[in-house]
Amino acid sequence: MRQRPVAITNGTLVLARNRRAVEAGIAVGMKVAEAATHAPDLLLVPDDPRRTQALWDVVLDQLDGLGPVVEDAGLGLALVDLTGAGRSERVLVRRTLHALTTLLGLTARAAVADGPFVASIAAQKTAQELILIPRDHGATFLAPLPVAVLPLPRYAVADLALLGIRTVAGFAGLRLSHVQERYGGIGMAAFSLAIGTDTRPLVPRVRERQETLSYPFEPPVDDLTPVLFVIKALLDNHAAILRREGLVAAGLRLTLGIEAREPVVIEQRWSSACVPGPAELDALRLTLGDQFSGEERDGALPPRVTEIGVTLLDCAPDGGAQLPLFGAGIVRQREAVGHLLTRLHALLGPMGVVEDVPVESHLIEERWQSRPYTPERIGTPPASLPIVDAPSLPSLPGMILCRPPEPAIVGWVGEQLTALACGGVHRDVLTALGPYHIEGRWWEERRFDRAYWFLLTTDQTLHLIVEDRLSGQWTRVGVVD
């Protein structure tokens, strides 16, 4: 396949191509039909992101043996911390490259350098299988390269070109104060890289941790209590590992082996990444209870559990969230709310706890949208400006909605609205404010044509009533309480 031009497509466009295809003049974004005219023997491969990611995960697993920290810098680029490897760097890297070629049939290029930036540039630019940048020679390697390799905004690169600065060496020769003055923090960061200062620590890759314990339920159990005990032990085990390694998990997958049946798999995503504790166990207990009691209701024999497996999902570094630094109050509050939401989601479902967001609308029942609550909302600063209200009808403080809207009868004396009967109670009207006439969606089936009134009755209650002008019905939709 390496000898033939190959292009990965989504059916219409070229998404990626190999070197042979580049030589044939095929570019990314080119239409497939056009690409085929450039190379008659072009091999078209459909894009399969899941399979590609799976293969990339295998590559990253292989790299785990090379160093303690592996950073996933996107498909095709990984960074490995080789600190402590000493002079055996070359041997180790060659062995890994050989393993990738032998086991997976992949070719790879590698570079060893002082920091991740120089290493990734070197690996992408070199034609060799392995390149070693000697210690403290990062700046020397970067010097002849175009300044565009540095993480500078496009306008800055164009600006530098106008000044005649086209290489990294030219940029590194500028005065630091000038760079800071002209390009600010971004320029300072790029300048540090240009002079060979690259101390960014690697970010360990997010990966699933699978910790499956097979518990010998002999004979199999049909009671939830021992199952929950084992699950708690497994979760405690996981929590200890996560704390030791400074990780948090985003959820878990519970696999229950059932005698003479398909295994039961329960996957739960927590409201925020955390170390599993009582809240997560509670959520699992609720789900398990619902599932098993449902089966018993059907009249079947209770399921007999033979094996339990717990897998934590998306374990990631906790980012120091548990350190008592500034802002830790909000972090703790978020954590507590996250635990509460985990429990409530298991009990009430994902829309069990919602946040209401006001939106502009003429209809009062459409003036907000509810979305699932997330702990990230904790710590949001209060709005400095009042929320813009719909001009058609004011939203009064203290108003509650009548659910469902109550049918109402209004009394008129001449042209005056004088009485309101609603819910079996007759009230005299002191004053009426309205009508607020609202009409819309006449092009849809859900068209509306309404007249809203605020009625102040003798008991000093302010009612919001509406006349549906399509049906002629009056209803009370709210009360200012």
């Binding site: 809240a279 509670d282 509050q333 507590a336 709310v337 635990h339 509460l340 939401l341 429990r343 009430l348 069990g352 706890v353 919602v354 946040e355 209401d356 967001v357 006001p358 009062i364 003036r367 609550y373 909302r377 904790i378 949001t380 209060p382 709005a383 009042p386 929320i387 209200d389 004011p394 939203s395 009064l396 403080p397 203290g398 108003m399 509650i400 909605l401 009548c402 659910r403 004396v413 042209e415 005056q416 609205l417 004088t418 005299d428 002191l430 004053t431 009426a432 404010l433 309205g434 009508p435 007249a451 605020f454 102040l456 008991d459 000093q460 209650t461 302010l462 709210g478 200012v480 309480d481």
Partner: protein, 263 residues
């Protein structure tokens, strides 16, 4: 020029620099009490010292008395800093109205569960987690005493205050251990002279502090962000005895309505 003080010179006390009437207080006196949740309503805070945590409170009143206005005023203060859990089984909460009085909606976790069994379990979870210092339950009717008795140990063990919002005035509330707030409508607030508009509402609140066995009544005024035009015209007339014989008012937006009715 520096002057060295001799030993026989009388030294002034550092406190002499302060005026004699200045009351010096400890910093801890100024800080809010850790077990109290400030309501942001000065008369209420002066009387209660805030809403005590680990207690069950009651907010009640007849329809239109101002219970929701008072609740929104309370939420406006608490949600600025803390998350608040609101159990709204009847889905009566109107978010734009709350936002208009300053409630910070991103800190309001609304639970619209209808099933009482699930609601009680969710309430138990919330009390166990203590994630929200204020939990509001818009119950409609006061829960039975045995339910409050079962809730009380959970509330005592938690770090939250549980506020029950009830429609109507209950004759007795045996399970309430913190404060009872009974709201009554007092008056609609008038705008400036020459501009007859409704700018807010004053609610008279009868407060009973069950911990200290004392009561008081205080007026609390809530201002609307935008005034309502001419709502008070007839209401004021009635108060001043200027209403017509039937007690009925004139039509505020009479022209529009009249033309519509005539058409």
């Amino acid at each position: 020029m520096n002057v060295a003080h001799g030993p026989n010179q009388q030294r002034a006390s550092p406190l002499a620099a302060f005026p004699p009437s200045l009351a010096i207080r400890r910093a801890s006196d100024l800080a809010p009490h850790a077990d109290m949740l400030p309501t942001g309503l000065p008369p209420l805070d002066a009387f209660l010292g805030g809403l005590p945590l680990r207690h069950i409170h009651l907010l009640a009143g007849t329809e239109g008395a101002g219970v929701t206005t008072l609740l929104h005023g309370l939420l406006a203060t608490v949600t600025r800093i803390h998350p608040v859990l609101l159990f709204d089984p009847h889905n009566r909460f109107y978010p734009p109205g709350a936002a208009a009085l300053g409630v910070h909606l991103p800190h309001l976790l609304r639970v619209g569960v209808h099933d009482l069994q699930k609601l009680r379990r969710a309430l138990a979870f919330a009390l166990r987690e203590s994630a929200c210092p204020l939990i509001v339950w818009d119950t409609g009717l006061l829960p039975p005493a045995h339910l409050l008795d079962r809730l009380r140990p959970d509330v005592r063990a938690s770090g939250s205050a549980l506020l029950l919002v009830v429609a109507g005035i209950p004759l007795a509330a045996p399970g309430i251990t913190g404060a009872t707030l009974i709201a009554r409508h007092e008056r609609w607030e008038q705008g400036e002279r020459g501009r007859p508009e409704c700018v807010g509402k004053t609610v008279s609140v009868a407060v009973t502090d069950h911990r200290r066995h004392r009561s008081a009544t205080m007026p609390l005024t809530f201002h609307y962000p935008a005034p309502l035009p001419s709502l008070l015209r007839v209401a004021r007339r009635e108060v001043s005895g200027d209403a017509d014989a039937t007690g009925r008012g004139t039509l505020a937006a009479g022209d529009a309505a009249a033309s519509r009715r005539a058409g």
